[in-house]
Amino acid sequence: MANENGRPKVVERDEIVRALNVGKSFGTHKVLDGINLTVRSGEVLAIIGPSGSGKSTLLRCLNQLEPQTEGSITLAGITIDARKAATKKQLTDLRRSAGMVFQSFNLFPHLSVLQNISLPQQRVLGRPKAEADIRSRALLERVGLASKADHYPVRCSGGQQQRIAIARALALDPKIMLFDEPTSALDPELGLEVLAVMKELADGGMTMVVVTHEMHFAETVSNRVMIMADGRVLEEGPSQSIMRDPQTERAQRFLQAVKNR
């Protein structure tokens, strides 16, 4: 994409993420190889694929929890190239723009639900406490948990904890939300609560990248689906066509396996 026709590299305005030739190796073990990816504003991209295919690693590269070892990633206008370590300023800006939701929630157990959501706003955005608390309560309301504000996370169910984690990420007004198997640690019923919140977010125009095993979500909520295996992208395109009519044999096998359960 760089200088194909002699013009300087331009990141299109509505492009939130662009990954170019991203690779990641742990020692000699290559978990990502030549990944190219674009996510536009308002788009919901689902990344699916068998375990160990590198989907979570790719997601974690996007916000530099795992710095890639090859290629470059641009997120919300911040470009980080594997050849040059990111500066602290870049990392702070990047993470402020990208909200992250983990498989295991990772709420702060020693802080109340309200503090979990307010403290990052105070420390990262410099919002005064009163203002942060108002925002936190509004977000808790939005995810249906206004009554839990003064509880500690351990007193909440898994589904509730994950919705709180979503509220914590949203509180920083991110440009994009990254979800790393957000329902995998939940039983199916609790997973539905979380998926409902995610669907509402998607309908509200939030840009999202979702690593998931929820095939129904991938097919109906996301605009695009990317299937990964062995650290590479197998297929990528509009959700319905990828989910219903995969072209490669490996993708067909994977979708067969997950759909016939």
Binding site: N63, L65, T92, F102, N106, F108, P109, R123, V124
Partner: protein, 219 residues
């Protein structure tokens, strides 16, 4: 029997004075030693090699040298280098060093017990490394370390009896002095033991109660 109680009662004020000195030395050693222990625990994890080596040296000397040697070093040794300390200051410095060295290991273990996901979550919400330590890692790590720290604090109170060797008028010195004057060593040492126990046993119970209340917010 009543002779014994009369004897104890007569000497109780002196013994209480000694106990107060013991508690004061313990208090200073802990008040200086535990915060220093936290700094050392963080220093050992530093990415700067010089900081890591310096803190490791402080910790290993503090743990390697017996408390009695530390006391004698500060009280008898330093004057030769031109630094004279009162027995109280020498005791406080020596025991604070010992405390910081041991507690740094307790705190380090506590910090390492904080799940990796907490560090990742702190990074993902954009906390700086310092903020992550201050608001997320250290509070949780200290909670893990608290019971062991308090247990160590009780041991330190008992270790102040070593200050007997540098003529600090703490509880054991007072008991020994009364013993020398009255030749009633056995009864006065028993009284000293009882006074230590009166502090240590309730403290131990308080620690286990605290342990229970600290585990409230964890799964």
């Amino acid at each position: 029997m009543s002779d014994l109680f009369t004897f104890w009662l007569e000497n109780l004020p002196t013994m209480i004075d000694g106990l107060i000195v013991s508690l004061e030395v313990t208090g200073v050693a802990l008040a200086v030693g535990i915060p220093l222990g936290l700094l050392l625990a963080l220093g050992v994890q530093s990415r700067t090699l010089a900081v890591r080596w310096a803190t490791m040296a402080v910790v290993e000397i503090g743990r390697g040298a017996p408390a009695l040697i530390m006391l004698q070093f500060f009280y008898f040794g330093l004057p030769q280098a031109g630094v004279s300390l009162t027995s109280f200051s020498a005791a406080a410095f020596a025991l604070a060093w010992t405390t910081s060295a041991y507690t740094s290991e307790i705190i380090r273990a506590g910090l390492e017990a904080v799940p990796y996901g907490q560090k990742e979550a702190a990074a993902a919400v954009g906390f700086t490394h310092t903020d992550a330590l201050r608001y997320i890692i250290v509070p949780q790590g200290l909670r893990v370390a608290a019971p062991a720290l308090l247990g160590f604090s009780i041991l330190m109170l008992q270790a102040t009896s070593l200050c007997f060797a540098i003529a600090l008028p703490e509880l054991l010195s007072q008991a020994y002095m009364i013993g020398t004057n009255t030749f009633q060593y056995l009864p006065i040492l028993i009284l000293a033991g009882i006074l230590y126990a009166l502090i240590c046993i309730p403290a131990t119970i308080a620690v286990s109660l605290l342990e229970r209340s600290l585990s409230r917010h964890t799964a």
